[in-house]
Amino acid sequence: MRYRSLQKHYHIMLFPGIILLFIFSIVPMFGTLIAFQDFKIGLGIWRSPWVGLENFSYMFELPDSRRIFTNTIFLATAKIVANLTIPLIFAIMLNELRKQKFKRAVQTIVYLPHFLSWVILSSVISDLLLLNGPVNHLFEAFGFEPVMFLASNKWFPYIVVFSDVWKEFGFNAIIYLAALAGVNPSLFEAAGMDGATRLQQIWHVTLPSLRPTIVLLATLAIGNVLNAGFDQILNMYSPLVYESGDVIDTYVYRAGILDGQYGLATAVGLLKSVIAFVLIMTSYQLANRFANYRIF
């Protein structure tokens, strides 16, 4: 076979990447064994004492654990729903624009926040939400009491979800827009000739043609039920809003890296990784069944 001689070269090409993956992805996977240890950084993984499931049972006894799991699932689910629906509405509205230049200008602007980091955007948002910031000025103008948004457990979840939607809605609309670009224009023409109003056209032509995309995105989103958005929350929360904003990832960071409870933090992280893995596999199975989607 002529392919035989090529195999060696293919292995060589893959070699550097595989080595790096091995060190920085595979080795840490085995590193999760410290979830079953009372890990001391000085002793290392070989000499730290094994404690079985103690870290896990300790985790479930912690008063915080219930809070971080419910916060995570709540915030993540709210984001999934908002990030599926709002971009959909936006894409449909954008698709109705006929002036191409205007349409392109809107797109260029709304995609921008996606490319900025949460470090920057959290700072931008906190400027807006200060006690004497513009949002509170607006509140006062309408006769409401000013609110310390980022210090309020009542407001914090809304701010997290809303600011995430603000950052990503344009970008998330791209997939819908691509699907809309593939819709046969004669469908609209036919509907228009039959006297369908614009809303009727959206309801009877646009939405049905987006159905496969919506189903696919919704199924794939199942894998994100434990991702509340670490980068965002780490940059927006403070001890004042742990009650409503502390999530698994921020807890792992504080317990592990700041407090040095490596075993406990790894146990929490491992539990998350395993559940996330099961969820993602399930969502791919479903996506494969309902939408013929394959990862590769």
Binding site: Q7, H11, F24, P28, L94, I109, L112, P113, G170, F296
Partner: protein, 298 residues
């Protein structure tokens, strides 16, 4: 293409409303960023008093002048530039080298499936923050720029994207070059790469943006402020100071925000956005294409 649409008076009113709504949405996307920019050009006292609205108050460049004389900030900026160049180059080489063999058919490359499963598995399952932290520590990479570029050296998503693009290159080309005696390296470098410029631009931009925006690795692997990349510097010296160093008293949150130098911080934010804004036109051009490529499966 022009679509035939029924136009009545009602529909032209709704059209006007639609355009107005879209203009508002676009404005809302920019407004927060614009507001911070306005603060950065404002007078310190006006910014602290909260009287800046849309335009800078008492326009001045004091904040920017201060930053340009701040060696820590400039140092952080330089570390970020180095990280983007080094990390971007490593990502590029690894992506190209891995995407090519993986774009072959299973019969052409027998171990393809095994490698693919390994890659996908690392994308789906992670050991988590702590084990990686310990690995980086044990390798002695703390405080070194390598801790920022090596753990993210293999961008699996980008590899998938490029390999899908490679697969769209006609097979006939491949066979023709092979008959001319071209080896796999020649094929990759002289045939595939020149044909893949849009895809290469896409993955490069993705990895540059990722490197520029990353802050968490710098936060945990760098033990001194002098080694922070820019986003970590801002996280620690702007965000952290604003949000984290308060305990108990909600009134302090606002007090600290007022005390800290708002205009200076805003100027730091604006400068750290500049590189992204500078490459944004190119990003715009390629990323939609890139995303579509990534979602096209065979």
């Amino acid at each position: 293409m022009k679509l035939v649409r029924s136009r009545t008076i009602g529909s032209s009113v709704s059209t006007a409303a639609l355009y107005a709504a879209m203009a508002c949405i676009a404005l809302l996307s920019l407004a927060p960023i614009w507001y911070t920019t306005a603060i950065s050009f404002s007078d310190k006292a006006a910014a602290a008093a909260g009287s800046v609205t849309f335009w800078p108050q008492d326009f001045n460049l004091v904040s920017y002048a201060t930053i340009l004389g701040d060696p820590t900030f400039l140092g952080a900026f330089w570390i970020s530039v180095k990280r983007v160049l080094l990390g971007g180059a490593i990502n590029f080489v690894i992506t190209v080298l891995m995407a090519y063999p993986l774009s072959k058919e299973n019969r052409e490359f027998r171990f393809r499936s095994a490698y693919m499963w390994l890659l996908v598995f690392t994308m789906l399952f992670s050991g988590g923050t702590i084990p990686l932290y310990i690995v980086v520590k044990e390798l002695g990479l703390f405080n070194s720029i390598w801790s920022l570029v090596l753990p993210s050296a293999v961008p699996v998503f980008n590899i998938m994207l490029l390999l899908n693009f490679f697969r769209s290159i006609p097979k006939e080309l491949n066979e023709a070059a092979e008959i001319d005696g071209a080896g796999p390296w020649y094929m990759l470098l002289k045939v595939y790469l020149p044909l893949s410029l849009p895809a290469l631009a896409t993955v490069t931009l993705f990895s540059v943006v990722n490197h520029w925006n990353a802050f968490f690795d710098g936060m945990i692997y760098m033990r001194s402020v002098d080694n922070y990349p820019l986003q970590t510097y801002i996280q620690q010296l702007v965000v952290q100071v604003n949000m984290q160093d308060i305990s108990g008293d909600p009134n302090k949150l606002d007090l600290i925000a007022k005390m800290s130098n708002k205009t200076l911080n805003a100027a730091k934010i604006v400068i750290s956005m500049l590189p992204i804004l500078a490459i944004y036109p190119f990003l715009q051009k390629y990323f939609i294409h890139g995303i579509m490529l990534g979602s096209v499966k065979e």
